[in-house]
Symmetry: C2
Subunit: 130 residues, 2 copies
């Protein structure tokens, strides 16, 4: 029944899901969920996205083991976005080896600059698949 | 030049922009930007979205005065989303009168529940337009 209140129609069956670290408040990544992914996330307690490129459900951490444990889910006024607070099982969520996917900052000169160190070696985790 | 590094093509010319309070770390809202909105945001220092419903640029706070002052902009590994940290000029960003648009939380019974008080009267600010 809970799905009924979310607006999956506005963007081709998908809603935006912002993933935020429950403890630190850092925004870790953003993904998309269809109704099935949302149901799976609620039912299993692990964040499950819908992969737009692979066009199928994507249990985050399926291959890396870095799953995201759901602590709290909020929705916004339009009911077309979710804020999911999580405990992150692992050193980082980004397939490039960083804690957060948002590891590049816009500098005054108009360039994007990496402003932090990797927290793990993505080749060791993903075996070169990422 | 800075626009060249963002991927506006994946979602019909739009990228997702997560707005986070710079001081508290609270996620306030999520919106969308086209290239023009992104340029305006960087140039003016005030968050400017592209309104999907009105199909035009939307300077957040244009009518309410509750503008969002840009403190920091990051992009993600895919360069198709932004994290914008802001100082919020006003008691809240949500047109329904809340500090954050994410004011409803999913309860164990599967219902969305409002878990906080309004920070301002939206009718007084928007004059019934919202």
């Amino acid at each position: 029944m809970l799905d009924m209140n979310l607006d999956f129609q506005k963007s081709d069956g998908l809603i935006t899901a912002i993933i935020q670290d429950f403890a630190s408040g850092r925004v870790l990544m953003v993904g998309y969920m269809n109704e099935e992914a949302f149901r799976a996330t609620v039912k299993t307690g692990f964040v499950t996205f819908y992969s737009r490129s692979r066009q199928k459900l994507w249990l985050k951490g399926e291959s890396s083991g870095h799953r995201l444990v759901v602590k709290e889910i909020s929705t916004d006024c339009d009911a077309d976005a979710l804020l999911v607070k999580v405990d992150s099982l692992g050193p980082g969520v980004c397939h490039e080896g960083y804690e957060s996917c948002f590891f590049r900052r816009l500098e005054d000169d108009g360039q994007w600059k990496v402003t932090e160190e990797r927290t793990y070696d993505p080749n060791a985790v993903y075996g070169g698949k990422a």
